[in-house]
């Protein structure tokens, strides 16, 4: 088992002929992801790397190849439209890697996707990997290994750092999900926590948060009330100054809201252990899993 995607998931790639889309499509194919179609308007009828059929619209790709998930690499100006097209064509899992999507667009897009019963992960995220089965996005395959730890994070390379440390320490992962660094995203911490809670493979969960917003605080309260599996937290940005956007559009302390100190305190008040350093996470997982 895993959450959101496994080896049977039939994946299409929107923007497969672009620079990023083609590079990561090859990486995914190499990892074993079932890429059944690509979509680039105007390039329908071609084949990507002489194998994957390319279509003009998501509708055609779904009809012809039965794709159920889509990974989006189109530029920011077209990302909202690509997400809505996927949702409107019956895709149930949409992973938007694109960075720089306007927030006001995302307000409508997130609503549109949920109205159609689809799940959006991202935007501005590394996607997800269910080690040994499939990956949808850009998480490097070699750092992960199958196992009992679920990982959910707002970040990219910091997630790789922690996943890699877990793997080295002998703790493989069920699924690692990067939910994205933007203020408005499709899938949040609580959605992932709930999915890990009911996933039989997952025995412990790592949650990697950062400054800005209140998702971590809401997750902390949710963990106390509704989760039985142990969760280990980490929060980046203890030294971040207020009012400055720390790379991610959503990583900003507004006034006195959204500081790392506030988030860490809320985790601890709700019984969630918080690692001081990223590489300490495997030690906490070891004790959570009973050595």
């Amino acid at each position: 088992m895993a959450i959101f995607a496994d080896k049977k998931t039939r994946v299409l790639i929107q923007g497969i002929t672009g620079r990023d889309g083609s590079f990561h499509a090859r990486q995914m194919l190499e990892y074993g992801t079932q890429i059944v179609a690509g979509v680039t308007p105007g390039k329908g009828g071609q084949r990507f790397d002489d194998s994957v059929p390319v279509f003009d619209t998501v509708d055609e790709a779904v009809q012809a190849e039965g794709a159920t998930a889509s990974v989006i690499y189109v530029p920011a100006a077209f990302a909202s439209s690509a997400i809505c097209e996927a949702a409107d064509s019956g895709i149930s899992l949409i992973v938007a890697i694109t960075e720089g999507v306007p927030v006001l667009d995302m307000l409508r897009t997130v609503r549109y996707v949920s109205d159609r019963g689809a799940r959006l992960i991202g935007p501005n995220c590394p996607g997800l990997i269910s080690p040994g089965q499939t990956k949808l996005g850009i998480i490097p395959g070699q750092i992960a290994a199958p196992g009992p730890v679920g990982v959910v994070s707002r970040s990219g390379t910091l997630t790789y750092e922690v996943v890699s440390a877990l793997t080295r320490a002998g703790y493989g992962q069920s699924t690692c999900v990067g939910i994205g660094g933007d203020p408005i995203i499709g899938t949040n911490f609580i959605d992932c926590l709930d999915a890990f809670e009911v996933d039989p493979q997952t025995e412990a969960i790592v949650l990697i948060g950062e400054i800005g917003g209140s998702d971590e605080q809401e997750a902390a309260r949710h963990i106390k009330e509704d989760l039985s599996k142990p969760v280990v937290g980490f929060v980046a940005g203890r030294t971040a100054p207020p009012g400055r956007r720390m790379g991610h559009a959503g990583a900003i302390i507004s006034g006195s809201q959204g500081t790392a100190a506030e988030k860490i305190a809320t985790f601890r008040e709700n019984g969630v252990e918080v690692a001081e350093r990223p590489l300490e996470v495997p030690d906490f997982i070891a004790s959570a899993l009973g050595g």
Partner: protein
């Protein structure tokens, strides 16, 4: 992107919101001239991207042209939260019978635009929200329909109960405020205070707007409002080459790939007793030139005593970063010692490249951070 009060006032005025007159001056003489033109009492306000201007002495009431000149000179000599004041807004002082607050913000947890109004105007709205949240009236805007007329009207009557004239004026301003937000691609717009004059007219005295950076590619007229003087030259240079750089007070310069890891690296510097000099994200696909620019920006900060590279190669290739470091050391003189930690994609090639150029590389993040902190202390 932050824009100045005078720019936000102009955007609101263009949308039909009643904003009283006001002009910008960059010298005290100009400020005096503007005050003479208006006659009577004027307000002089520092135009700087920092809160707490009043407390810092950046807002003053002047009686006549001579005093306006004197106060403008004082304010233009100020530095507020590290930012030099280069412009002041000069506006006629308004007669104020009542002050209210009006704002619109993208609310992250509910995923909608929330409009807010409070009769407690002119003060810190965050404080009102924390202490007396019942005094803030809210309307959530469903993104499928936009702001509906009855929502604006409801806020108007909440602000001015029993006063239909003012309630209707306020409802009109609420609708225009929302339009201004959407047209500018803003994530926050505030009128604080929204004042009532003694004759019962509403006026937007102070305006604040934050623009979503992701909107700028399609709003060139908003991008033109950017005030590069309000950023450090290093931050401007970084943006031009596509790096995210934020200057801090410490002495350990950090070059990292990825925003989350960059923050975690700064935190680790602090954890091991040092102080980070900056946040710097070289991004995912690092070409060697970005690394050269990064090193140039960091070495230009004279406070930096030690430089730390922390690279986790995924999509970023470690050999690209290594080539960048070697190239930079040829192009520019790097005096502070460099500690390099890299691991992941093409790590072995990277180590070879670095070693043949006389650098050494580490793979353990904690070890590297400890060493960089220690080197900064030795060079104090």
């Amino acid at each position: 992107m932050d824009i100045h009060e005078y720019q936000a006032r102009e955007l609101l005025r263009e949308h039909g919101i009643p904003v009283p007159p006001g002009e910008v001056a960059t010298t005290s003489e100009q400020a005096g001239e503007i005050a003479r033109k208006y006659g009577g009492r004027v307000v002089i306000k520092a135009q700087v991207h920092a809160g707490g201007r009043g407390k810092a002495g950046g807002v003053k009431l002047a009686d006549g042209s001579a005093e306006a000149r004197k106060f403008a000179e004082q304010i233009l000599a100020l530095e507020i939260k590290g930012l030099p004041v280069t412009k002041v807004l000069v506006a006629p002082a308004e007669e104020i019978a009542h002050e209210a607050y009006l704002g619109a913000v993208v609310d992250r947890s509910s995923g909608v635009v929330v409009l807010m109004a409070s009769s407690e105007g002119g003060i810190d709205i965050e404080e009102v929200a924390a202490k007396t949240p019942e005094l803030i009236y809210k309307e959530q805007v469903d993104p499928r329909y936009g702001l509906l007329a009855h929502q604006a009207s409801r806020l108007g009557f909440k602000l001015y109960p029993g006063d239909a004239g003012r309630a209707r004026q306020a409802a009109g301003i609420v609708r225009k405020l929302y339009d201004a937000m959407i047209d500018a691609g803003a994530s926050l717009v505030e009128i604080n205070p929204l004042v009532t004059t003694p004759t019962g007219e509403l006026r937007a005295i102070d305006a604040k707007m934050n623009i979503d950076d992701n909107e700028l590619f399609r709003r060139p007229q908003i991008e033109e409002l950017r005030d590069s003087e309000s950023e450090t030259p290093a931050e401007v240079e970084a943006r031009d080459v596509g790096l995210t750089y934020i200057e801090l007070d410490g002495d350990v310069g950090c070059v990292v790939n990825g925003a989350g890891l960059a923050m975690a690296t700064m935190d680790l510097v602090k954890y091991y007793g040092g102080q980070p000099a900056n946040f710097l994200d070289i991004g995912g696909s690092s070409n060697p030139e970005k690394v050269v620019s990064a090193l140039r920006i960091i070495t230009a900060d004279s406070a930096v005593k030690s430089i730390l590279f922390n690279i986790f190669g995924g999509i970023t290739r470690c050999d690209d970063v290594a080539n960048g470091i070697v190239e930079a050391s040829r192009q520019i003189e790097v005096t502070p010692p460099i500690t390099i930690r890299l691991t992941g994609t093409n790590e072995e090639e990277a180590v070879q490249i670095l070693e043949s150029a006389g650098f050494s590389a580490m793979t353990d993040m904690d070890e590297a951070v400890r060493k960089a902190v220690q080197l900064a202390k030795q060079h104090e």
